[in-house]
């Protein structure tokens, strides 16, 4: 008899467990780390119109491609003060990820890769606590009239110091290529 009591208890437990289901809908997840937007602002030294390079991918890893825009050509012989801003626009108001990157400057580094015959040179102008480059700020000097690509790569946890992307390792958080012209 004792067994039957036990069995009926088990049955009861099963019914109770299955019966208490809540019908609440789940909460949406706010993606905290996604970077949707990279904006590179190039201010000509000595004044003039700033040039903006922007890549915006509002659906993150979703199927839509990023929208890449370049506001205009660079002028030959001109040096620009460059600054990079990263945003997470899935949140409202948009979160400034640049602040996080700069707070963890020893674990991040931007790389600038020039390709396709573009004649420009870059130099880092901000550094981490160990005097290794961080690169959210830089100088860019446009050389002779030319066109090609300019790629901005942000690595998380790279080997620092390094000689470039080849031995930096880490993970790529940003990799955006812009088609740029020097006139």
């Amino acid at each position: 008899m004792k067994n039957y009591k036990l069995l009926s208890l088990i049955f009861l437990a099963f019914v109770v467990f299955t019966a208490c289901s809540d019908d609440d809908t789940p909460d949406p997840v706010n993606e905290e780390e996604v970077i949707t937007t990279l904006t590179v602002t190039l201010d000509p030294v000595g004044g003039g119109t700033s040039i903006e390079l922007k890549s915006q991918d509002l659906d993150g890893d979703g199927p839509n491609d990023p929208v890449v825009t370049v506001s205009g050509p660079l002028a030959n012989g001109v040096t620009y003060n460059g600054s990079i801003k990263l945003l997470n626009e899935t949140e409202s108001p948009a979160e400034d990820i640049t602040l996080e990157v700069e707070a963890e400057d020893d674990e991040h580094q931007f790389f600038y890769t020039i390709g396709g015959g573009l004649d420009v040179t870059t130099t880092y102008t901000n550094f981490d606590g160990n005097s290794n480059p961080l690169g959210t700020e830089f100088d860019l000097t446009a050389g002779a009239a030319s066109s090609g690509t300019l790629t901005f790569t942000l690595r998380h946890e790279p080997t620092k110091p390094n000689t470039g992307l080849g031995d930096a390792g880490g993970e790529t958080d940003i990799a955006v290529t812009f088609d740029v012209t020097v006139q």
Binding site: L6, V29, D57, G62, P63, D65, P66, E171, A175
Partner: protein, 798 residues
């Protein structure tokens, strides 16, 4: 019962004077595995006739009359049973006894429960000895020893068994009678089971074990712990293993207390700890492991009924090779084209992100009762809670937060009836009810990998086996399963639209948010499965098995709902809401010979799977983080074809050669291309020396040769590499070269005290420190596999 016995007893005395010349003959067999029981004593009630079975379990009684007799059958290791037999001329009858498993070293436990498993499909068993040898490894390590079984690895500590080319949701794992619900769908989710809980493991290469489900298209793995003997005793064992590679080891202990009243307790616990493992040339950084498990079993074993309570706790923390954690296709290109990973740090025991942290609770209550006319009824309730945490390398405040936090709760209730329809026909039937609730914690700050869902399952099955005669057994079974899924899933609006769901399923939308859509898909699947097989003894040495199985599997949540970046795999994975059930038709055959010197078995099979679900890279997806390979699940018709060979030759009593050969080919019948991730052809040859007289000395040298997989789909892409200023091919398809490993193993037993024994074992894996890559290791493109490994094992039985 006693009254019936008395009447029978009396009636037999009364009729003793008849002219009686009939005979009764047959075998006494183990109820669990059908093995013959020698030295069983048969007593014909009411007469002074007795008989004993010979070395092959056969008996012969003469001088019986044509009427009913009561026969008591007894065996030292079994519970005695009373059978009623009607004699009509010379009669044949087999008796089955329930073998009471002895925990001491005299018997190798083969708990192959008759009818739970399959008689017409080749069952492979792993003995306790083998299990103990793999005490510090995983269940898949031990199963790898079986022909036709390999493992899908993520690094060297996350191993999933592959049976004849199939894995994950297609392989059902049964732990102490409970079907594991531990999020087995992902290729990087290893089974949440400690190999040390099992005293024996049976592997069935097909879906014939319908009792546990009709969806085991690949096969079923059954891990069981032994029943405690019904006598007053206390015994246990402790195994300590140390490994040079990984600089760690494991300790496991099991203690059983039992009494003649049938009450027993078993306690078991394991601790495993490893630091970084090493390839021949470098440290595989962040590949450590920390595993803790414990289980308790309380059982009351009476002749007419049994009660059992079981609880097990499993927790394991596994580091994922740091060098495999990458950004997009550019990083992947860079990592693949290195001969040595960029991220190699000095050895450490620390386990950092990326890592997994899985916890599994399993509780079971089981009651069985035998009814005279009806048979044995078993009622079982089991509860499982699986919590899976995955940690990625993150930034800022999220640094120590898990990226994946899934909690899966499962309740199951089953009722089974095990009976005999006649002397020759055994029948088993049962029903199942299951409720499952998955919750993904939104506080991770990462979109849910698997959505919140509730799943309801109902199932019913019946299996029958018929001993047509001494040589022929026929087996038939059928099962029906109904599953209902109630899901809450957030889709990215862009994905929702790009896949056309907004047109096809507008009515499942609950709420539209800025960039996401909350939907409530309600899916249900009705699946039929069946099995039919024959076992035929061609002669004393040759046996033929043939089995057909129809298996149907509902798509799992990962196949239906994946959408997003899988950091650990550096790829975006997309499921499909519209998937239907996979249906497989498998034909398998085994011909085997058991001889004094030469044994072999050959098992060819063909598995035709309609609507086979697979994941493959389809295109490159551009994101602000660069290009990622997009892996999409798709359904196609597949065909798996292959064979497994096992053979052994005894040169002398102590020396034998064992051979294994496994071959499988997978084909996409729709696209006429090879299937991805099919195990390459492999062969194992092992020379074994064993001398029971010399401290049970065991020495073996194994050669393991794995061929190159020549058939694979080409899914390579061209990717723009800014540093090189050109497009380059991203090779995510090609397969690594063939390799050959030598493994050495040895052990010896030393007795001390009355019943105690110490076993010392020394093994060397990859003796030649060969550098190799394994196609079935998902991280093989980023690092080499393990180098030489010394294993020292000490086992004490007391």
């Amino acid at each position: 019962m006693r009254i019936i016995l008395m009447i029978l007893l009396c009636s037999s005395i009364l009729s003793y004077t008849q002219d009686c010349t009939s005979t009764l003959s047959g075998s006494v067999l183990d109820l669990h595995d059908g093995k013959p029981l020698p030295e069983a004593l048969l007593l014909v009630a009411g007469t002074n006739i007795t008989a004993e079975t010979d070395s092959i379990g056969k008996y012969f009684i003469k001088g019986l009359c044509n009427r009913s007799y009561t026969i008591q059958v007894a065996h030292p290791n079994c519970l005695s049973r009373v059978f009623s037999v009607k004699i009509d001329g010379n009669t044949t009858r087999n008796f089955r006894l329930e073998h009471h498993l002895e925990e001491f070293n005299e018997i190798t436990i083969k708990g192959k429960a008759f009818k739970d498993k399959s008689q017409t499909l080749n069952n492979e068993k792993i003995s306790r000895e083998e299990i103990e040898r793999f005490s510090s490894g995983s269940i898949a390590d031990a199963l790898n020893e079986i022909s036709g079984v390999s493992s899908l690895n993520t690094g060297n500590t996350i191993l999933k068994p592959i049976i004849n080319g199939l894995h994950s949701s297609r392989v059902v794992l049964v732990n102490n009678g409970v079907r594991m619900q531990d999020q087995e769908w992902g290729p990087e989710h290893a089974p949440n089971i400690d190999i040390n809980v099992a005293d024996n493991i049976t592997l069935i290469k097909g879906a014939a074990a319908l009792q546990y489900g009709g969806d085991a298209i690949g096969g079923v793995i059954i891990a069981e712990s032994a029943n405690a003997p019904v006598k007053d005793t206390l015994f246990g064992k402790t195994i300590v293993t140390g490994l040079s590679n990984g600089r760690g080891g494991s300790i496991t202990t099991k203690l059983t207390k039992s009494s003649v009243s049938g009450l027993s307790y078993t306690l078991q616990g394991t601790l495993k700890r490893f630091g970084d493992f090493e390839s021949p040339d470098y440290v595989l950084s962040n590949t450590g492991l920390f595993e803790r498990t414990a289980s308790i079993k309380v059982a009351l074993n009476k002749f007419k009924y049994t009660l059992e309570g079981y609880y097990s706790y499993f927790k394991n923390e596994i580091g994922i090779l740091r060098a495999s954690h990458l950004g997009g296709a550019g990083d992947q290109f860079d990592a693949i084209n290195r001969t040595r990973p960029l991220f190699v740090e000095p050895f450490t025991y620390d386990i950092d992100a990326p890592k997994q942290d899985a916890t599994h609770h399993l509780a079971k209550l089981k009651a069985t009762k035998s009814f005279d006319k009806l048979g044995k009824l078993t009622l079982q309730y089991d509860f499982q809670l699986n919590n899976r945490l995955e940690f990625d390398i993150r930034r800022g405040d999220d640094r120590d937060k898990a990226s994946v936090d899934l909690e899966l709760i499962t309740h199951s209730l089953t009722l089974d009836l095990d009976t005999e329809l006649s002397e020759k026909i055994g029948f088993k039937a049962g029903i199942l009810g299951r409720f499952q609730d998955n919750t993904a914690d939104p506080r991770t700050g990462v979109r849910r990998l698997i959505p919140d869902y509730k799943r309801y399952d109902l199932g019913a099955y019946g299996i029958m086996d018929y001993d047509v005669n001494d040589h022929l057994t026929v087996e038939l079974g059928g099962r029906f399963d109904y599953s209902d899924l109630d899901v809450f899933k957030f889709y990215r609006t862009s994905l929702w639209e790009s896949r056309g769901y907004n047109v096809q399923f507008p009515d499942i939308v609950v709420e539209e948010l800025d960039t996401q859509v909350l939907t409530n898909p309600k899916l249900n699947y009705s699946n039929a499965s069946a099995t039919a097989g024959v076992k035929y003894d061609l002669s004393d040495e040759f046996q033929l098995l043939f089995n057909y199985s129809l298996a149907s599997r509902a798509p799992n949540p990962s196949e239906l709902f994946s959408d997003g970046l899988h950091h650990a795999a550096s790829r975006i994975e997309i499921g499909d809401l519209r998937f239907t059930s996979e249906v497989a038709n498998k034909f398998a055959m085994t011909i085997s010979r058991q001889g004094p010197k030469f044994n072999f078995s050959i098992s060819p099979f063909i598995n035709m799977i309609n609507d086979f679900i697979l994941i493959e890279p389809t295109e490159l997806e551009q994101t602000i983080r660069g290009n990622f390979t997009l892996w999409e699940y798709r359904q196609t018709d597949a065909r798996l074809l292959g064979f497994d060979v096992d053979a052994s030759y005894n040169f002398t009593e102590n020396l034998r050669l064992e051979h294994q050969f496994s071959f499988v080919k997978g084909r996409d019948r729709t696209l006429e291309t090879p299937l991805i991730n099919m195990p390459p052809v492999e062969t194992k040859n092992e020379l074994v020396y064993k001398n029971e007289k010399l401290k049970n000395l065991h020495l073996s040298l194994q050669s393991h040769y794995v061929f190159r997989q020549n058939e694979f789909p080409d899914n390579n892409f061209d990717v723009f590499i800014p540093e090189l200023d050109m497009e380059r091919e991203l090779d995510i398809s090609s397969t690594p070269d063939a390799y050959h490993l030598l493994n050495f193993n040895s052990s010896a037993d030393f007795k001390f005290g009355k019943t105690s024994e110490l076993t010392v074992g020394l093994g060397i894996n990859n003796v030649l420190n060969t550098t190799y890559r394994n196609y079935l290791n998902r991280l093989f493109r980023y690092a080499h596999d393990l180098g030489r490994n010394f294993l020292l094992t000490l086992k004490i039985k007391y």
